[in-house]
Symmetry: C2
Subunit: 136 residues, 2 copies
Amino acid sequence: MNISQHSVTSTPDTARSSRGRQLVGNALQQCREFVTAQQLHAMLDQQLGLATVYRNLQALVAAGKADTVRTDSGEVAYRHCSTEHHHHLICRDCGTANEITAESVESWAAATAAQYGYQLIGHTAEVYGVCPQCIS
Amino acid sequence: MNISQHSVTSTPDTARSSRGRQLVGNALQQCREFVTAQQLHAMLDQQLGLATVYRNLQALVAAGKADTVRTDSGEVAYRHCSTEHHHHLICRDCGTANEITAESVESWAAATAAQYGYQLIGHTAEVYGVCPQCIS
DNA sequence: ACGAACATGATAACCATTATCATCTTGTCA
DNA sequence: TGACAAGATGATAATGGTTATCATGTTCGT
C-alpha cells in the first residue's frame, strides 16, 4: 500500500525559470478550484507537453506552492495555494473545496507526536461532506 | 475530474452466497486496518482470482459493509466497517503506525462541516513524524 | 433435476501517471 | 561573447492499479 512514497526521480540542484514553469504557474493561479494535470494540459492547449505539465505541477507541490488532493476516481487534483498551512473541506458531489484553518488540529498533531515521543514532521486532515448546493 | 463516478457495470438483482464472498468477507474482517485489493488477493494466495477480489470488495462497499480510502499512491484501501474509527501516527522512516483516537478531531470535523452548511460524510487525519527508535 | 440469474477466472483493455532519452534552453564562467 | 554543464521539454513507451469482457462454473427457486 505504502502511504507516503512519492516519485524518486532525482530533483535538480537548482531550479531555472522556463516557459513551462510560467505557463503552469500562471494557469494554476487562475484556477480558483482544484484542477487535474490533464485539465490544465487541455487548458494550455498545445502550448506545453503533458509530461511537462505533470513535472511542473510536481515541482510546485515540492516547493510548497501547490496543494494536492486525490479525487474519488483516483486522479490527483492540484490547486495553487498560499504557502500557509491549512486543511480542506471537500464536497463529495461537486468537488468544491474550502480552505480551512484549525488551530485545534495543529495542537492536536503536536501533542500526539509528543505523547509518543515522535519528532513531528507534519500531518494531514481533511473533512468530506456534501455541500449545501448539492444537498438541495 | 469527476469526483463521484463509479463503476457502471450493472448490479445483480439478487446477491448469492459464494466462495468468493466468504473468503473476501472473512479476510477483510480479520484485517483490523485498511488493506488494498492486491494485498487481500495475496493474502488469499491463489484461492481467488484478482478480479473476483475486486468485485467482492466493491460489493461489500455497495452494501455498506466496507469503507474505502485512497492512499497517497492512488490505491484504494478497504476496511471492514465495524472497525471503530481512529487515526494514525506514522513513522516516515520505518513505517510503524500507531492507532490513535482523538475526540478533538471528531468534534472539529463535525463543527467545520456544520459551519459551512455541509452534510458531514467523514474525515481523515494522520500525523507524520519520526519515531523514537528511528531518531536514535 | 432444470434453467435463468449469478459468480468466477484469465486476460485484455483502460487510463492516469512516470520513466526514458534525444534535443532544446538557461545561466555561469572564462 | 562563446562554450558548456546542468536544466527543461516533448514524444512516446512503460507502469501499475483497476475495470471490462466473455466463456465457463455455481447457486437456488421451481
